[in-house]
């Protein structure tokens, strides 16, 4: 073998190893590890002042710019998990007609194609898909504290929003006081719901009733 051939052989081996030996982060994640749990809260709110809550009986599905309500097994699993951890933190579930202190919306968000809007700003469209009449406060706008993050929802997500109904009349608006967002692989699977919602509550240690 001439030196030229040796060089070509060695460089080929090096190039192959160069390309193959990089540890690609996304290929080294399990579905559980791929998930992120994001929570926002209104720092001016003391959650111990709230005792009761009601939760929507279905999920709002935001699918590439269109919205509709739905109750699949996945939605029910998320609703059940939220109920479980709200009650574990001392909140009492009541009917939405019984003047709950807090209202909870569960949303499933898809963005698989370029729609006429893409949820780059999750909050801007909130009033568009959650009718305040649902919570008995028709005519009020939703209010999101400026400190809440702007979510870049580019693929899919499940979100849980907590609304301050107790002070809606006094403030003339329905403030979102807490939000949890779940993203990553396998989140639209019922088996992921409990652990995902638990993670949201675990990192929100302030979210406790009296």
């Amino acid at each position: 073998m001439t030196n030229k051939h040796l060089l070509i052989a060695v460089l080929s081996v090096c190039t192959a190893s160069f390309l193959s030996c990089t540890k690609e982060p996304l290929n080294n994640l399990t579905p559980q590890e791929s998930r992120i749990y994001v929570t926002n809260s209104d720092s001016t709110v003391n959650f111990s002042n709230y005792q009761t809550y009601s939760i929507s009986d279905s999920a709002d599905v935001l699918d590439n710019g269109k919205t509709h309500k739905e109750l699949t097994g996945v939605d029910q699993a998320y609703i059940d998990a939220v109920n479980k951890y709200m009650q574990a933190n001392g909140f009492k579930l009541v009917n939405k007609n019984s003047n709950p202190d807090l209202g909870i919306n569960v949303n499933r968000i898809y963005n698989t194609a370029t729609g006429y809007y893409d949820y780059n700003d999750y909050w801007d469209y909130y009033g568009g898909y959650w009718d305040p009449y649902y919570w008995g406060y028709g005519g009020y706008d939703y209010y999101v504290p400026y400190s809440f993050g702007i979510y870049q929802v580019t693929e899919g997500a499940v979100s849980v929003d907590m609304l301050d109904l107790k002070n809606a009349n006094a403030k003339g608006k329905i403030a979102i006081v807490w939000n949890g967002l779940i993203r990553g692989e396998g989140i639209f699977d019922s088996s992921a719901a409990d652990a995902s919602v638990k993670a949201l509550f675990d990192q929100s240690t302030y979210l406790k009733s009296k």
Partner: protein
Amino acid sequence: MKLFKFSFLFLLLALGLNVHAQQHELRLNLHYSYAMPLGSFKNDVISNNSPRGVTGDLLYGINNKISVGLGLGFQDFYQKYPRDLYPTGNHETTSAVLSNSVQIMPVLAKAEVYPFNGKRAAVQPYISAGAGLGIISFAQYLGEFGGSDNSAGLMLQGGAGFKVPFNATGSAGLSLGANYNMVNYKKNGFDNFNNINFQAGLYFPLR
């Protein structure tokens, strides 16, 4: 075992092989590289050592003691940290597995000096120095969400090692050494990606 090591060394010395600096000869050094992050790179970004690297030096012997040329390479650093909480906004908290991935590709003007060349020695020590660019790809992910940044920064390198020739001509052989790499990276609060790499490989002439 110790006796074996001394016997092997004695044998090498007794053979009295000579490593020429190969004046006016173009030579290629090819190494496998194992690197260890240092300082803030180790403390703030990736603490894992990297067994994934190669280096290649194309050097021209301007006299018996000095060769100059181009130093290239690739080193891949990666670390996945267990799930933890990260503040990502004023009142926003994100729970995620954090992955950091850094690839460094040096493009250096390089010189190797063989202070004892010309003497009959089976093991020929060398020192080296390099200066140029470190092409850096830095990717950071929270879960599966994140992105990468590509940039180039000043890179300085100092190294030392020794070469063991295969034969009396000394034109090809084994090469072992280590380099201290200063890699400038000042972005997003990061300071540098300094590291030390250990390398082992072959050198041979290109005719």
